[in-house]
Symmetry: C2
Subunit: 757 residues, 2 copies
Amino acid sequence: MATIGDIAVAAAINIITALIFLIAFAFLRLQPVNDRVYFPKWYIKGLRTSPTASDGTFVTKFVNLDYRSYLTFLNWVPAALTMPQSELIDHAGLDSVVYLRIYLLGLKIFTPIFLFTWAILIPVNWTNNTLEQSQDTYSQIDKLSISNIPHASPRFWAHVAMAYLVMIWTCFMLKKEYETVANMRFYCLQSENHRPDQFTVLVKNVPRDDHESVSETVENFFLVNHHDNYLTHQVVCNANKLAKLVKKKQKKQNWLDYYQIKYSKNPSKRPMMKTGFLGLWGAKVDAIEHHETEIKKLSDEIAEERKNVMDDPKAILPVAFVSFKTRWGAAVAAQTQQVRNPTLWLTEWAPEPRDVYWKNLAIPYVSLTVRKVIMGVAFFFLTFFYVIPIAFVQSLANIEGIEKAVPFLKPLINIKLIKSFIQGFLPGIVLKIFLKLLPKILMMMSKFEGFLSISRLERRCASRYYLFKFVNVFLGSIIAGAAFEQLSTFLNQPASRIPETIGIAIPMKATFFITYIMVDGWSGTAGEILRLKRLIIYHLKNIFLVKTERDREKAMNPGSIGFNTGEPQIQFYFLIGLVYAVVTPLLIPFILVFFGLAFVVYRHQVINVYNPKYESRAAFWPDVHGRVITALIISQVLLMGLLSTKHAAASTPVLLALPVLTMGFHIYCKGRFEPAFTRYPLQEAINKDTLDRVKEPNLSLNLKGYLEHAYIHPVFKDDGSDDHYEDGTPIVPTKRHTRPEPSRTNEEEILQEKHKP
Amino acid sequence: MATIGDIAVAAAINIITALIFLIAFAFLRLQPVNDRVYFPKWYIKGLRTSPTASDGTFVTKFVNLDYRSYLTFLNWVPAALTMPQSELIDHAGLDSVVYLRIYLLGLKIFTPIFLFTWAILIPVNWTNNTLEQSQDTYSQIDKLSISNIPHASPRFWAHVAMAYLVMIWTCFMLKKEYETVANMRFYCLQSENHRPDQFTVLVKNVPRDDHESVSETVENFFLVNHHDNYLTHQVVCNANKLAKLVKKKQKKQNWLDYYQIKYSKNPSKRPMMKTGFLGLWGAKVDAIEHHETEIKKLSDEIAEERKNVMDDPKAILPVAFVSFKTRWGAAVAAQTQQVRNPTLWLTEWAPEPRDVYWKNLAIPYVSLTVRKVIMGVAFFFLTFFYVIPIAFVQSLANIEGIEKAVPFLKPLINIKLIKSFIQGFLPGIVLKIFLKLLPKILMMMSKFEGFLSISRLERRCASRYYLFKFVNVFLGSIIAGAAFEQLSTFLNQPASRIPETIGIAIPMKATFFITYIMVDGWSGTAGEILRLKRLIIYHLKNIFLVKTERDREKAMNPGSIGFNTGEPQIQFYFLIGLVYAVVTPLLIPFILVFFGLAFVVYRHQVINVYNPKYESRAAFWPDVHGRVITALIISQVLLMGLLSTKHAAASTPVLLALPVLTMGFHIYCKGRFEPAFTRYPLQEAINKDTLDRVKEPNLSLNLKGYLEHAYIHPVFKDDGSDDHYEDGTPIVPTKRHTRPEPSRTNEEEILQEKHKP
């Protein structure tokens, strides 16, 4: 058991670490050479030009020599906080702004809880001497927790009352927040200019007709069934192969640019290259000529493939983006069932053009259920049994295994240093690699399930990641042992014993979670702003890989806020906070510090760094809300389990009402607010239509031209080389796995700890 | 343990009972005096006039003297079977026809299961001698069941394979049936002439406006948001008080008719009556005059109340029936969200006018969630703890309690016969009364929840009744003990032990369920066709109460098929059949006999007796489908539990796939077929609209007049005295609790048995 002194030392270490990160950041961001790492958002918006191109001496291009700027090294904090919300929405999009509200929600929920629990529960807990009388060792922290209350004491009513207070306050804040976010979403929809997705519906599973092309079928169908509203449509081609070719050509083009620049700098020597693997061997040829012929060959291939895609009716997928004359028409089509067979002519509100995940449009509807079931089962096994394959790999990766597999390395392995390295680190590294890969594995699973937009893929990943963390980090830390062992324990235990088993272990783990918050929450968040990994990669790329200006832009790679990994992390703090609010109130201020620090840091990052890949207009909020509710219910059930072991039986029926009331609140919220995130009310649509008609009387004439090519596969847009919209937002239908992940050090350590052979 | 001989005796007794019922029915139905009891449907359709009014001697008016008609006393069976389906739909409605298909589904599912299990499992089970070697007593029936297989025998693979076969066949039939019913529903919707509910949408939660009436608000809203489609609307008044007055007036009018007829028959004597309670005391007055003044007084009151309702804006509920020019317009309005706040302007497809449950239209939306939660909790306690209040009442209803409460009855109670009656029957009667009241209690609970149509009320009741039967009859019979005792056992047992505990008890209860099927299924169904209770009540009413022709029509009271109690009964047989299919195949033929007999009997009743109160176009099928799936999953889980106690561990993973696959199938069906029962596809709507326009070019002119008064509260229809539509179908928005319930003898006995103090 850690004492208060231990906690203080840990806190000091983490505060110092965080401060070092912040100071390093303050220093590094002022260097012009790092400008593209710390302010990429402004480059993308075109509001900042490369500082290396500015005037000045050679040195000042790379290092900031102005000492005055170092004196105000923390001025990014007020700068991050002062940008008003409306401006921030314009700058970074509604998604980012609402994402930041999750941190604010944490502050709003836990600040009053902190005040109340410290004012009431800490004195109630402290003024007992249960622990002093008991034979067990204990620390001062336990004296502040519920452990210090004697069995069957009437003081437990204070905790029960506090549990009610926590529920009421949390639900109140959740409801207010849901309302605010829903209104922000509507306001955003109403204030936006026309966007293609407001007029367009994604139609899936268009039935094949032998006598008509897909395009004709779609046109006829909507002319008949939505005769007053139908405007135009775009069919979707299976252009996956074409996209691959175009990508290849881009790469070659890049190399060509590089060699041409090289040649222009030194015209005396034509650049040469080897044709083999990575340019390491093979025949030596003239690089410019070689690439020119290669590109020409690829261009021909692309032209042919494009012709194939265009002409081959089989390449046309049974999917179409159908646009309507009015928002009302689109809202009607998106919300209604079209034909008798509900698996044909499926309509849904189209995602933004850049949010479309084109590859999955080709998945037929019938396989979706199967895919869902398969992935459900796979996820179950991943969560509970992931340790088994890792243990297997670890067992292979020991000294004897390696000696057997590659006998010629034997002398090398027997060197003491290398031996101890293998024995000490290799098993841990295997697990670490797995955990680093986990978000990518989850993303692959979601892609396999067939979601059609990147935003929905990320939302799915987030909920699975949260579940994984709940089972393997939360439950795994409280009850030591691998998840599948817990599973068998739970199956072989009475249902009512499960909350007790966990509940009884909770107060004992408080110090552990406090340390977790400090390492993962404090230092991790401070590390996020430093972007050390990105900084190094950028400079490495800049030195070794960057050949052209376009490469430099790519190397800049701002990443995005990473909903799929970031949101589960925040939710984990909600879970810990709610579980410990009544049990060990000492933990709450640590969480408050996390929420406060993270809010400032991420607001800064949203303003200066991240470049969102899509804008879903806060469509993720129902998930956020649902997970906080889940955390609340888990905390209530665990409290019930804990109190039932404390012989406070009288309180059980009173506690039983808590999860019931919370569920009732959730059902109410689902009915009251969720539709705002899934449907487009007709009144809103018609209001906006009317406004449009007044403002731009000839809009309906231009609309067709505007919508006709809005949903074209990015590969068809000017040969794919132009991957930017007119308004400067890039269309990036590629996989996203480039987000700077917040340090997960502690979590990985837990899993490694649990898993030591 | 019952032997095969015992079963044979029970079977003989029940077959004889059933035959007696059938012969009695065949005899009674030929008597003209019973004609209105056995053929009310034809009277209601106006295809049969009273046989008492036909020519013939006085005796032949009451008794059938034609001996030839007795010779063919079973000819109702072919008559019941020969009516073709399309004619039956016209005659009795789609609901009844689809309801009969549930019995057919039972035959279709269990006939092949019967053949396969008898061909394979019975030999596999029989050719062991586990039971002979064991010390326990056993019967020949157990020798045919899974109990006869030795532990860890490879023969269990036959049972596992059979479980797969059962699942595949059941799912296949379910899918086919879902498809057929969905198509029947669409065919029905397409072939019907225009009906008000096809053009009308029920709008709930119209927001109040201080400056406009509800009617104006509704009109403005739909003129703006559905400008091309809106036709007309009807607001709903809170006419509950008015309805009460009108009912009272009708009663008086009836008495007046009676006295006038009496007077006209015997003009010499004016009929007199007493004004007091039930005409037993009070001042003697001229009956005709008295009633005439009373009626006049009531008429004035009604006129005043009607004026009140019409004029008072507070009497107008925030609910309206909005009609559209086309089915397309109605389908769009019903399926879309209207405004930003999803709790305002709620639209749903309007129920048939006669299906509307007017009283609940007044319930505000905000209270619905609360009502749902309250009823959920109440139902939980009703299911698991209903025994407690009954035991309490029973403890009051003993000899000493009565002696204490009413001491002056002491001498009477001490008479031996009465004493033993009280001791022996009173506790049982209390339980019996509760079980008789249960469907009514469930209906009251559903009404409290605020469903707006009678059909949805009945569907809700059915699912709750099924749950109650599952817990208290199925689980209660397998594991003796009150439900709340089981609940605590389950909570204090490991989760994996629950299926084992039940599974191990299942083979032992096979003979009990065979007896149950024969008593409740065979004799009960045969008793249903006899309508003995109805027959007696009809004749009693005819003698004592019937004063006018209208009274006689009322006394006829055909009842309806009673979905809320009938469907759970059938589902219970699906449950038993699926659970025992693999465990004790001997049981299957008994179920087959039930399904066959019940199909014939209920087909006859649907043709000749029942008069459906509403037509929901088979909207209940998703519930039916879902409950069969539930039964299938329960059977699979229990088999898993049973086999795990048989040391057939190798089969567990293979069995684990069964419920997963079944759930997958269910999800698929939900997506594929359920929308057919909740939504109206736009293509169907527009096809029908186009057809209408071609067939009746001036329909749109007449439509407004047709729809303007379709959804008027029945009390406003010609003073409520005319409770029939133009097409002869009655509008009866009253509570339905008059259905002849199939005998529940055995089930009640079980509950009484369990409950003996």
